[in-house]
Symmetry: C2
Subunit: 441 residues, 2 copies
């Protein structure tokens, strides 16, 4: 049986999963593909720790260039993450005629244009299914199975840590963010420093990649409206329940003609929406194609084996295409063949029109509701529902008032929030949670 | 821009969808792929009817061989369905060096071995994503994204007509099968002769294809245990609700070592199972991979645009692989490269062990329950629940008694059913609905 030599750079959690799958499922992979994947070398700075998988220790090196310069190795798996030295290693692999499989969402999202350009110049390829939604084959579906569709709407839960925390807060009424985060850390679902997850940066990297594949738009995270989940309070989950909503951190891409809304923030969804039932560390992608209609994909978006499964799927795909001809796949597994930003452009966040939940802490005095709703009316914000039912028990004199709006413009909402916040009867700035509910107008 | 000439044989509903998508989404497809798909000829016996799509009438012919022998056409789309002349046309396309895209589930399921053999002999390819679950890219996911997984469990809703009927019966308590079928026909979700759908044959063809792709086993429908939904009564839906179950027509593949359970029948599922919420004409595939864990795919499994979307996705995939090298993809898009039935084999249906719902119509007399449960005990069938609460009001003297069993062997259940049916206090044969509930033992 033909053997294909591959090298692995980065022997952490996912790297160990790659070793495990290649060993445990070797016979399945050989039967399905007709070739054998020979993991010839593994490079990592740490060549001593026990990874809990059996492998031939002699293939381990602390020098990535032993892989990058090995003429027998045709595919390099990059699993060190981050920008450098990952970027340098990947470019070096390309220059040596090797294709690359990576799970590096940050690098692809921020440096994708460079990565794909150098890959094409060297007639090699790069595959990165593992960068988005772990084991769910969603990038391949966008790129291949659904390629004939215009994507009118994509709503996606792309970070298991945030989804776990929000699920905990949903199902344990009164549990606050810090309690839920602590539980996630105890269970290994959140890192000691959870910033990249809870602030939405990890999800935004994935959103950026999905945007490129589905709309041909390259948008670094700094150009995307990103909000994490740290501002969500137990009270918001209680209110969501009262309106039959769930709160999810959603990556959102909605098309309006040639303009595309792109945003990442906590979102209220009707509890009957397919995404509303996705709990715990699971990821899910809901999409509306102009031809296929509504679809949903659901699965584990992180973790050792699911992510390694996607990595090996990509390795096999690269081998299959290399076996046909030793040239770059046309177009590359990555972005569009033509210049990006050619078809669509991102709608200014200020121009987004959607429904809003506003939580305002106001003094419990006559006339307050009138002043707040007056400001909203001045900014063309029409109110769908108001809830003000809890009498203050803390003695501070302020109570939460919650508004659900009809469709309103983001810029109007922000201006109204500013004016409301400056009222002496209001304390602090209103909390805004956008709502994705097609039954509202 | 490079043009690729394709020909379409079969200008019915899905064929019209192909013409529509190629027209409406031409610019999207060109931007994403870098080439233009030129639908050069359409063949159909009916060249007069209005299909509701605009196209150049001069490309229409009633002679399929104008496409099959056109040297400029490199890809043939076969959408006439059925065995002949579809099989002959496909083989002729292969012999003329053309690859084929088809939605023909019956032909692939029953004649797949021949089709793939001739394709390989002629170094061409055949793609058939549209044959299973319409617009959901599930075959591609099995073959590529999830290729590193052993598939331990697959449960799938693959027929929208049956799912619509069962959903109607679920949400309109008391509605019987014939009322629900009539509604499906009125809405265009069931054909005038619905036999292939409601008897499970359509689902079984799809199950056969999924089995080949996931386990390397070629099983024609005659070798698969197939039951349709015509035996399901309104009473069964009421009972399902009482046990917090839903009834779905499920294609089931469950692995036990090197043996695989393969069956297609109405199945009770806990209402908390992700598939239980899939209502109406939607399809859905739940899978458990040894590495990715649980995943679910959901979308429209039939209809003009969703199915045509899958057809065009396949056309593009074939063009992409042809552009790399004009040889057969290795392995073909179809089955395994090696001999089928090499790895796994199908478990004898008699040896299947699962949980059962039995509905027995018995006389309301002392001792009847004891005699029935005695027969079950003799066959090692342990009873989990019994419900006998409706007094007969029709005066016939028989009332339905429902049993839920612990895990039992199919052969034992069938033998017990036979013996119970021969009791003079029992009328008719027991209705069996198998249960897929991991919380039962």
């Amino acid at each position: 049986m033909e053997e294909i030599a591959v090298g692995l750079i980065g022997f952490g959690t996912i790297g160990s999963g790659v070793v495990q799958i290649l060993k445990e499922n070797q016979s399945i992979i050989e039967a399905r593909t007709g070739f054998r994947i020979n993991l010839k070398k593994i490079a990592d700075l740490d060549i001593d720790s026990d990874r809990g998988v059996a492998f031939d220790g002699s293939i381990l090196t602390n020098d990535a260039y032993e892989i990058l310069r090995d003429p027998e190795i045709s595919i390099v798996i990059e699993l060190i993450g981050g920008y450098e030295p990952a970027r340098t290693f990947i470019i070096e692999a390309f220059r040596n005629g090797k294709s690359v499989v990576t799970a590096n969402k940050a690098l692809i999202a921020e440096n994708g244009l460079e990565i794909f350009k150098v890959a094409m110049e060297n007639s090699v390829d790069v595959a990165f299914e593992a960068a988005v939604a772990g084991g769910i084959p969603i990038l391949r579906s966008f790129r291949e199975g659904l390629v004939a569709n215009r994507f009118d709407k994509i709503l996606a839960i792309l970070n298991g840590t945030c989804n776990f925390i929000l699920s905990e807060m949903t199902h344990n009424p009164g549990a606050d963010f810090h309690q839920a985060l602590k539980k996630a850390q105890e269970l290994g679902y959140a890192e000691a420093d959870p910033t990249l997850d809870i602030e939405g940066v990890d999800s935004a990297h994935k959103l950026s990649i999905v945007l490129a594949l589905t709309h041909g738009i390259h948008a670094p995270v700094k150009n995307i409206h990103v909000e994490g989940i740290t501002g969500i309070e137990a009270f918001d989950l209680l209110m969501a329940r009262e309106f039959s909503y769930r709160i999810k951190l959603l990556a959102i891409i909605i098309r309006h003609g040639a303009k595309v809304e792109v945003r990442l923030h906590p979102t209220m969804l009707p509890e009957t929406h397919p995404l509303a039932q996705v709990d715990g560390v699971f990821n899910s992608i809901f999409l509306r194609g102009d031809m296929v209609g509504d679809q949903m994909f659901y699965g584990r978006g992180a973790g050792r084996e699911p992510t390694a499964s996607a990595v090996i799927g990509d390795v096999i795909e690269l081998i299959r295409s290399k076996k046909i001809g030793n040239s770059c796949r046309v177009p590359p597994l990555g972005y569009y063949p033509g210049p990006l930003e050619s078809m669509d452009s991102v709608l200014d966040m200020n121009e987004v029109v959607t429904n809003y939940y506003l939580r305002i802490h106001a003094m419990d005095r006559p006339g307050v509701l009138s002043r707040i709703s007056g400001i909203m009316a001045n900014h063309n914000i029409s109110i769908h529902s108001v809830v003000q039912k809890r009498r203050n028990s803390s003695g501070s004199g302020s109570i939460p008032v919650v508004f659900i709006t009809h469709s309103a413009r983001e810029a109007d909402i922000l201006q109204a929030r500013k004016e409301i916040g400056s009222l002496e009867v209001v304390s602090g700035s209103a909390t805004i949670i956008r709502i994705e509910d097609e039954s509202l107008d």
